[in-house]
Symmetry: C2
Subunit: 330 residues, 2 copies
């Protein structure tokens, strides 16, 4: 069977790993570059750089090497946010390994994060020159939105009332715009018309929101065997997830008192805390409501993809990726 991708049988993740591995960092100052090499070596799923390549592929762009720098820029940016977010979250572990600020210290994590952000822009400067102005504008817009989302996430920790809309907007900014932006940058390099780039961006943004809502759902209702994290972790730390927010806005005054007492339970009573919170979730049908919201954004994403004016065959890989991310069988 002949591949539908203009990139043929090239394995993108191999190509991306190769590109990420081929960038040479200076040896010194060792405390600046060692943490960068370290975070990049904690290989994640590399979804974002793949999206940049798929975004170009969708519009029949055939020169993989012209898209690689933009895809590396996106991956660098993502890893920069991980380094700095982990400082703010005081997280000791990332992908099962020590975080940069924990392995070195906060100062080194701040500065190596800064350098990695600049390194991302260095990759942008390697893109085809004619596209650099538009790529730069797009990248800046998305990068700033990610910062806004992170600030909102931090602000929400101490905000009494967070509405459903505010929450969705926060996850949109913090995580989804970068998925949309990666696709959009690929489309820019493929010289796609602006109308189609916008649809592709929206596909990524909506898919990202749906994915994040699903993550919230799985944290409470996932299968412990496949979820990979402790079930109920968000409940234990009183995280304002979509489940928490959907529940809170429906509670009657009696159940609101119960809700408050569950929040007040110590994390050492974790089993009880999870059990009681899930009882409230069930009573108020929160799982169904959250699933409906997730489905709303998933459908929007699929509609965006449908409406893009390219042969439907070309869309197969993006449909497959969306299906995999959303654990959906079409």
């Amino acid at each position: 069977m002949i591949s539908k991708s203009v990139f043929g049988n090239v394995d993108f993740s191999d190509k991306i790993s190769e590109a990420l591995g081929s960038v040479q960092f200076p040896e010194s100052p060792i405390n600046l570059y060692q943490p960068i090499k370290y975070i990049l070596s904690l290989a994640g799923k590399r979804i974002r750089p793949q999206l940049a390549i798929l975004g170009a592929d969708l519009f029949g762009h055939a020169k993989l090497e012209e898209v690689v720098p933009a895809s590396v820029a996106i991956e660098y940016f993502h890893n920069f946010t991980l380094i700095h977010d982990d400082i703010m979250d005081k997280a000791p572990l990332r992908r099962g390994k020590e975080t940069v600020h924990h392995k070195w210290n906060d100062d080194i994590a701040i500065l190596s994060g800064d350098a990695l952000l600049i390194k991302a822009y260095e990759q942008l400067a390697k893109c085809p020159a004619a596209f650099i102005p538009l790529l730069l504008t797009t990248f800046n817009r998305v990068a700033l939105e990610v910062c806004e989302g992170q600030q909102m996430d931090m602000d929400f920790e101490t905000t009494e009332e967070v509405s459903e809309d505010e929450y969705v907007n926060m996850i949109r900014l913090k995580t989804s715009v970068l998925l949309g932006g990666a696709l959009e940058m690929g489309a820019i390099i493929a010289a796609a018309p602006s109308s189609e780039r916008v649809k592709l961006y929206s596909f990524g943004e909506n898919l990202g929101i749906a994915f994040q809502l699903q993550d919230d759902i799985l944290d409470a209702f996932g299968d412990p065997a496949t979820f990979g994290k402790q079930i109920g972790g968000d409940i234990i730390v009183n995280k304002k997830t979509i489940l928490h927010i959907l529940l809170k806005q429906e509670l009657n005054s009696e159940d609101f008192e119960i809700f408050k007492s569950v929040l007040a339970l110590s994390s050492s009573d974790s089993d009880l805390k999870i059990e009681q919170m899930k009882k409230l979730y069930e009573k108020y049908n929160v799982l169904n409501k959250a699933n409906a919201l997730k489905e709303h954004y998933t459908k929007r994403a699929y509609t965006n993809l449908e409406e893009i004016e390219v042969e439907s065959q070309r869309k197969e890989e993006l449909y497959n990726l969306a299906d995999r991310l959303m654990h959906r069988a079409r």
Copy 2:
């Protein structure tokens, strides 16, 4: 008398303040954008953005509005480094006002610094499109070098032996490359030939090194009435300045013991500490040696400027700026 500048009688600093003031930042998230507005309001001397404009002016570039975004980008970048450096240095004050991390907190300072760095790139994207690729490459190179310099500066705090060359290289990276880069970016927008851009960059770099050496000298030997900071501040905290390094490499074994005992004096014995250290500086003729080094870089800077192939009239403003910075009368 007719102004020699193609920009006529425009006051650059007014123009820069106007440009800096005209950028609108979103209202929310307030914890992201308020610190940025705050740091930008603590008006410094705005030397860097002026250099970008003078760099364009040198080559007869007549459209001020085409240079302003690059000059604002440089000023944003500089302020981003101030926010993050102040966290690392645990500095409570900057330009006599509270630092961002002190007024808010470290997390907010990290994130608003990140956003300001991205805002700098947003300004770059507003430069004339044809020059964006080269401006981006230049800006990235300089930005990364500034990070390297900051890391070296932090590393030196715990390094036993710092050589004269290592020290000069650190101040070159931490502060001088940005002065050179600002001039170079102006020259790029003026479409100056690459050979002349290189000379102009070197002028800025050498002048920056000379200026930083002078700062070290004035900290110990300046006139308290005009220096603006406490005389001997570097001595009190055992800072490895050029004076410290030049002294240490010459000390005989007996004086080395005295040197160590002076370093061991508490900062509450500051008068004694300063007096004893300056006695050693005098015995080893350190002031003359440091002045000779400063003169070496100052002369290189003036030679760089001389060699640039434009009418000498055009160079007047840069000569004047250099004279002012180096307190020199030609």
